[in-house]
């Protein structure tokens, strides 16, 4: 089923057009399995296999992309010809010069590591694990629903280009989590572990699920869901806010990851996702956050779902600062965007599969750990709020005005965690928020969180990214 290198080279050779400047071809086979239990029974159990071939060509200044889910030799050649036709159409309405940053050809094979293949674990064991993890959350009449999810993902990908690159990559991932939903009259509360929307995800095998130890956490999640029903509403007003690791990871995603995508800054994604307040003239001279804020893009972290060896331009994975001591210093770029700011691609172009065109995507975008233990940050806070675990998210089209809701909050009075609070919502303006950061948690509170559902592009592509973050404190933040 996997195309041969000879087939790929034949397809690239078939692109006969004197104005052809560049072409690449990708093949992917994406395997997914999802198990969900709910209220003591299996609620959903599905398996999918998607195969696709995509061909991208640059004729003059016109890009053409064609894809098919038929992966026969004949279909690959036909797809290559369609890409040429589409590029010819693009040339009619292309008004900008396309400049590609230089790249060396690479021939390589890479696979993410795992100890226990997710597909080697029998379905019975996966189901039993989830039932064991969710059963302790049942029993109280206020618990209306308990559920657990396990997801297995594997993508095999081959990339070949007219530059001579031939790269074979395989990524294997696992994710899982549990949820308790409590209902009492008109009040409805959810509590999840370790994260909502299916849990946390890593480029790993079954060993990651064992490490999560879902059954051990279940009683605490149940108790917190019930306690939230009667908890007072988080107050409105301005507070010193300590944001826990998983929520801060999403804050990084929305307010740093997306606005540092150069295609957004160039207006290329305005039609659906929007633009960016971070414009190229601000590079190197715009204070994004306080001096404590170091945000790094790092596609080389072993075990994270934002990692790979080569992007879908064939550029090697890299680590670089986006925000250096609070200053905005770089974008996420690709070969056709980096030259517009006088730089080379830093290797962040990816597509969800060969069925879609590659665009700039986040990798692992991390807030680097600071030096202060979380307990010290709390002890140093006279009057504040601690929030954890995302519940809702919204940000404007330039990534400035954000509002996040969290599952839980705790009062902080005189350096001590106090009452549990429900429905906390905080809001702010991105650079004002990050400039107000005056304490960043140390390595002990730092964790990397897998986010397998980042949406971007049109047609929308779902990308697997990740964010490392510690807890951190922000002064005088508005709670809604």
């Amino acid at each position: 089923m996997k195309p041969t290198r000879a087939q790929f080279e034949q397809a690239l050779r078939s692109l006969r057009n004197p104005a052809l400047r560049y072409a690449d071809i990708r093949w992917t086979a994406t395997h997914q399995q999802h198990v969900r239990v709910r209220n003591g029974e299996v609620d959903a159990l599905s398996a999918t296999v998607d195969r696709a071939v995509g061909v991208r060509v640059l004729i003059g200044n016109g890009w053409g992309f064609a894809a098919t889910s038929h992966v026969s030799e004949e279909a690959i050649l036909q797809t290559a010809q369609r890409a040429l036709e589409v590029a010819a159409a693009s040339n009619i309405a292309s008004t900008a010069d396309v400049v590609l940053s230089d790249i060396e050809p690479h021939v390589a094979t890479w696979a993410s590591a795992f100890e226990i293949d997710p597909w080697s674990i029998a379905l019975e064991k996966k189901i039993e694990h989830l039932l064991a993890a969710t059963e302790p959350m049942r029993g109280d009449h206020r618990i209306h629903q308990v559920s657990g999810d396990l997801s297995c993902y594997r993508q095999e990908k081959i990339f070949a280009s007219t530059l001579g690159s031939y790269i074979d990559q395989t990524t294997t991932e696992m994710g899982g989590g549990i949820e308790a939903a409590a209902l009492d009259g008109g009040e409805f509360q959810r509590r999840t572990y370790p994260n909502p929307f299916g849990g946390d995800y890593q480029a790993a095998g079954w060993e990651f699920i064992e490490k999560l130890d879902l059954p051990k956490k279940a009683p605490q999640i149940r108790d917190e869901a019930i306690a939230l029903l009667a908890a007072p509403k988080a107050p409105a007003g301005r507070f010193d806010l300590i944001v826990g690791s998983s929520q801060l990871a999403l804050q990084v995603h929305e307010s740093c990851g997306h606005p540092t995508e150069l295609d957004r800054a160039m207006g290329l994604e305005i039609s659906l996702a929007g633009g960016s307040f971070l414009q190229p003239h601000m590079l190197g001279n715009f204070r994004y956050g306080s001096e404590l804020v170091d945000i790094v893009a790092d596609a080389t972290i072993a075990g994270s779902i934002g990692s790979f060896a080569y992007d879908d331009d064939g550029v090697p994975a890299q680590r670089f600062h986006l925000i250096d001591k609070g200053m905005f210093v770089d974008y996420l770029t690709g070969r056709d965007t980096a030259p517009t700011i006088g730089r080379k691609s830093n290797g962040t172009v990816r597509a969800e599969s060969a069925a879609r065109i590659p665009i700039i995507r986040m990798t692992n975008i991390n807030l680097e750990p600071g030096a202060t233990p979380l307990a010290e940050i709390i002890a140093d806070t006279k009057r504040g709020i601690y929030v954890e675990t995302n519940k809702s998210w919204s940000i404007d089209d330039l990534r400035l005005n954000f509002q996040f809701g969290c599952e839980v909050a705790y009062e902080i009075e005189n350096g001590k965690l106090g009452r549990l609070l429900r429905n906390p919502v905080y809001t702010g303006i991105t650079p004002e928020f990050w400039r107000s950061c005056d304490a960043v948690g140390d390595r002990a509170s730092w964790q990397i969180w897998g986010l397998p559902n980042c949406g971007k592009g049109d047609p929308l592509q779902t990308m697997r990214v990740a964010h490392g973050a510690p807890a951190a404190r922000f002064r005088n933040v508005e709670m809604a």
Binding site: M1, E41, V42, L45, S46, A47, T48, V49, D50, R51, W63, G64, F65, A66, A67, T68, S69, H70, V71, R82, E85, V86, A88, A89, S90, A93, S94, T95, A96, L123, E124, I127, H144, Q145, A181, L183, E187, F188, G267, L268, I270, S271, G274, R356, S392, S394, I395, D396, D397, L398, N401, Q403, G405, N423, V425, T427, I429, D458, P459, L460
Partner: protein, 451 residues
Amino acid sequence: MVSEQESQAILARALAVANADEADAALISVDQNISRFANSNLHQNMSEISASLTLRVIVNGSMGVASTSSFDDEELAQTAELAREAARHSDPLQHFSGLYQDHEPVPQLATFDASTAGLSPMAKAHDLKVMFERGREAGVQFAGAYLTSAASVATSSSHGVQRYAQLTFVDATVIALRDGSSGYASRCARRASEVDILSLGEEATYKATLALGHNEELEPGAFDVILEPPALAEVLEWLNMIAFTGQAYEDGSSFFVGNLGKRLAGENITIADDATDPDFLPFPFDLEGLPKRRVPLIENGVIKGPVVDKAWADRLEMQPTANAWHLGSPEHGSAFHIDVAAGTATRDELIASTKLGIWVTRFNYVNGLLEPKSALMTGTTRDGTFLIRDGKVVARLPNLRWTQSLVEALTRVEGLTKERRRVATWFNMFGGTIAPTVKVRGWNFTGKSTS
């Protein structure tokens, strides 16, 4: 697209290897071209052909689902084995009476237009080039997307229920940008002749240049709003997810629970799921093979009920509503054709009747998960937000954040236009929303402007 004969042949091979008590399958094939542009430059142009088959089996009352994009005998056999394995490990569906097995006729609807299916990337590029040139003359730059697609949808079951339809779809979005201001226009239809990209360019330009140079700001507070169809559609899509689906109803998070038959919205609010309206984006059946029909969700302000697939209809002791858009999906029914009844006003009349208010073209990044029981949502405005004073549009406003309970807002709808527009959404190839422009009293704007 895959022909009816070929589709049914593939589905027959899949069902033949299902080896289950019952089985059904759906084959969806899509051939689409998407031309994306920005800075008045066609920068992404994509031709995508895809096909996928989903097989669902019932074994001893339990359900298993698997899907594949390859249809050779070996792959279909593997897919069937995956589905059977899933069913073997699942619990029996509660009160399940079996897959749909009636053979009711489906409504005869015009879903396919050959000229739309044949529209080439080259022809679209020529139209875009003309629009770009007109934009340059008007001093605006354009961004957007122009999608055309032709698809085939086939279903078949072990009970002999077979369905097939071809559908075309065109969806164009244009954003005009000038001097930091932007304007938005969009249209979607089954027929390309109903979507004029050049007219959209003119409409977006009008919005981008209206009251240009007259900028004001507002402190947060409650204001009367005029919401155009794209804005209303986005909150209704969220309402579908948190209130209309079978799953939201069953898990208790929907505000419909405990309120069936009660009037929670104004008498002027009627919302249905209706794929049979020929003026909308019609489609004749759902993926379980049930004929589509109009399903009232809220009628004259009274809560009528959720949409449910066959399994959840049996579980909840309801009638299935023909809303299964993925076999075995966790939503257990989703309203993919949200139809809001029209009123009698014109947009100009709604604006003229507003002493102090905000005219909203569209929303951005709405989230409806804050408090599902009151449908509390938040989002921002974008691409054309205007201040209305004494019945006239007097200034452009920056984008504003709002946080609003939709349950409350639906009690305060003061007017709806007679004209309705179709609005597409990225996750729904079958339909979308058709809605009028509405005027709502006291919409809660919570955030200062940012751009």
